[in-house]
């Protein structure tokens, strides 16, 4: 497993990014954690539908986005809000999706991020198709698809990896191995020693990195992205991390894992090691921490307000995005729907 930044803040070799970028990414991780904790809190208040927390996976998600170009595609899952946000998806739309509003799946025109996949695994083939389209159109853009350890057992993982390798598609397969697929531990998901080694069977490089290590994740994604952009084809990256929270707010993880295990992973917190690293270089202090926490809280609160103040879809609008133009049978059903609402 490749590691560049140790849990105690020490660096192996030259850091892959400078202090300014490290500070920006640390700040982004603070924003991500603020969003995530707020998500769980709001769900408990009944203001959001089921929420899937990602605490513990901030370095994996923020580091991965940092390794991409701003117009590269991201095709991710319901647990990837930080990754999606870092690639341009607005917080308020991520919240809107969780309040139960389809418009949460509609990012602004310039944002190259698909709405999150709720079914497990099926979205990986979409990323291959998107990257293929970019390759055919010669844009230099690539795609990154994010998924968990559980998704590697899905048939579409195989089909996506195989297609990408056969046609040399510039797609990065970014697995956040967070130890569990709901309750099923990684050891019961696959007999492979690592997830990264599965790449060998497809004829593509596979890299296993410490997923709580911002530098290692950034570097792996950056290298894979540059290789993909140059026509070098796909890469599988396994970021070994841990989901500190439950699968979703409707799950009790005490039924399948020990408190000791969780405590052990909390000691490998992805934010803390960056904080120590910055602090030792005079690039972090309490005051700055307080400032960015306040900024994060303000931005997340504003996003919640925007999401909650969106008026619900108007009468009949649930039919309006089934097709570009409403066909006659849906026109009739729309009229019937409106009649029944009055």
């Amino acid at each position: 497993m490749r590691q560049r930044l140790t849990p105690s803040g020490g660096v192996e070799g030259d850091p892959p990014i400078d202090i300014q970028l490290t500070r920006r990414l640390y700040r982004a991780m603070v924003f991500a954690r603020t969003y995530d904790r707020k998500g769980t809190a709001l769900q408990k208040q009944g203001r959001l539908a089921t929420y899937a927390p990602f605490e513990g996976q901030e370095a994996a998600q923020i580091g991965a986005a940092a390794g991409l170009q701003p117009n590269d595609w991201v095709v991710a899952t319901y647990r990837d809000a930080a990754l999606m946000w870092a690639q341009g998806y607005p917080w308020e739309l991520l919240f809107a999706g969780r309040t139960g509003d389809e418009r949460g799946g509609s990012p602004p025109e310039h944002v190259p991020v698909m709405p999150p996949s709720i079914t497990v695994g099926g979205h990986m083939v979409h990323a291959v198709g998107l990257a293929w389209a970019e390759k055919l159109n010669g844009t230099g853009r690539i795609a990154l698809t994010s998924f968990g350890d559980g998704a590697t057992s899905e048939g579409d993982f195989h089909e996506a990896m195989n297609f990408a390798a056969v046609y040399d598609i510039g797609c990065i397969f970014f697995c956040q191995n967070n130890g569990y697929a709901i309750s099923l531990p990684r050891e019961m998901q696959t007999r492979s020693t690592s997830i990264a080694e599965k790449a060998i069977a497809y004829g593509m490089p596979g890299v296993q990195v410490d997923g709580n290590d911002l530098f290692a994740v950034y570097e792996a994604v950056h290298d894979a992205a540059e290789r993909a952009r140059a026509g070098g084809g796909p890469t599988l990256i396994e970021a070994v991390t841990y989901r500190i929270g439950p699968h979703t707010t409707s799950d009790d993880p005490k039924r399948y894992r020990s408190d000791d295990e969780v405590s052990e992973w909390k000691r490998r917190d992805p934010l803390e090691r960056v904080r120590i690293y910055l602090s030792e270089r005079g690039a972090w202090d309490e005051e700055w921490q307080a400032t960015i926490e306040a900024e994060a809280a303000a931005e997340i609160d504003r996003a919640i307000e925007l999401a909650e103040n969106m008026p619900p879809l108007g009468p009949g609008e649930i039919l309006d995005a089934m097709f570009e133009t409403l066909p006659p049978h849906l026109e009739r059903q729309r009229a019937e729907l409106l009649e029944n609402l009055t």
């Binding site: 389809e102 709405p115 048939g155 089909e159």
Partner: protein, 325 residues
């Protein structure tokens, strides 16, 4: 104008589309080097290159899912499933993603793509090669479902499907690929999706069908006309959207209806047509609506196909019963 079979007409449509629109590409198992198991894509890889007529790995979910990504990314993919029974592994992609992305993203992302699926029996094929699952696709919100029965419609509907801003499931009746020929215009023309074709007009009874069963229905109509019955035949061509106006006008005129399809009876698309008639023109009916369909059985193998497939005789018998009521 050339006289073409349905298979050749589809080939021409794909050729014309590849020629005209650089974003069009074909993907499927064996569509390139061998021109497809039914030779519908014959010669197209030679003409347009392996980058646009793509032989894929044997992976139906991957073919549809990758085509979906291509479509979202601005391409106009036409994916081929070799047989309808082989399209089932791709259901997840079709039902969970292809049909939904426009709604999921409120028009931000769309999947203008065509999924071509040879369907239907009568050729003595192995299991899974004779299915008629059009009702499952028609039941899925967000898909258009088209079934041509003539060479002219095959070409015009396929070009309309390729040009459509939404995903289209394009069902090709295997049995008719080479059994029907007619004059087909050169170049690009479209048959609008959502309009039925009135194959013959009549006053006494309406026979409603689509796809492969048009041949049997034509035979039944001819037999009935020999007995002095005036028969109207409607080929729906498009199941979603459905041309209810044409159905309604015909039922109001004849008051008697037989619906014919090859798929199993229960929850078949004929049930939808019958329910629409009941909702919209019940009082025009002079007799109960009858259905002549396949049975609720697995499609039988070669030696027993004749037990399953609706025949001219079965259709004529049902029509007579309807006329006598």
């Amino acid at each position: 104008m050339k006289v073409l079979t349905i298979a050749r007409a589809l080939n021409e449509a794909l050729d014309v589309a590849l020629e005209k629109d650089a974003q069009v590409m074909l993907l499927g198992e064996d569509v390139g080097r061998t021109g497809g198991v039914f030779r519908v894509t014959d010669g197209l890889q030679e003409r347009h290159g392996a980058g646009r007529v793509v032989d894929t790995p044997v992976a139906e979910s991957g073919i549809v899912g990758v085509a979906f990504g291509l479509a979202v990314g601005g391409m106009r993919p036409v994916a081929e499933m070799q047989f309808m029974g082989f399209s089932y592994p791709a259901f997840d992609q079709v039902i969970n993603h292809v049909s939904r992305i426009r709604n999921r993203s409120r028009h931000r992302f769309t999947a203008p793509m065509v999924i071509r699926i040879p369907y239907g029996g009568g050729i003595g094929a192995a299991e899974h090669h004779s299915e008629s699952a059009e009702a499952i696709y028609a039941h899925t919100p967000g898909l258009k479902v088209v079934v041509p029965a003539t060479p002219y419609d095959a070409k015009g509907l396929l070009l309309a499907a390729i040009n459509d801003p939404d995903p289209v499931v394009f069902c090709e009746p295997i049995r008719l690929y080479r059994s029907v020929k007619e004059e087909v215009p050169d170049g690009w023309y479209e048959v609008p999706i959502g309009e039925a074709r009135v194959e013959r007009t009549g006053e006494d009874i309406t026979l409603i069908t689509w796809g492969a069963m048009t041949t049997e229905v034509r035979g039944a109509a001819t037999a009935l006309e020999a007995e002095g019955v005036s028969v109207e035949v409607i080929d729906l061509r498009s199941l979603v959207p459905l041309d209810t106006d044409t159905i309604e006008a015909s039922v109001e005129k004849t008051g008697r209806v037989v619906i014919v399809h090859e798929a199993p009876k229960t929850a078949g698309f004929g049930a939808e047509v019958a329910a629409l008639i009941a909702e919209r023109c019940l009082y025009s009916l002079e007799a109960p609506v009858r259905r002549v369909t396949g049975w609720d059985s697995v499609f039988p193998l070669k030696r027993s196909e004749h037990q399953y497939l609706p025949s001219v005789e079965r259709i004529v018998r049902a029509a007579r019963q309807t006329l006598e009521t």
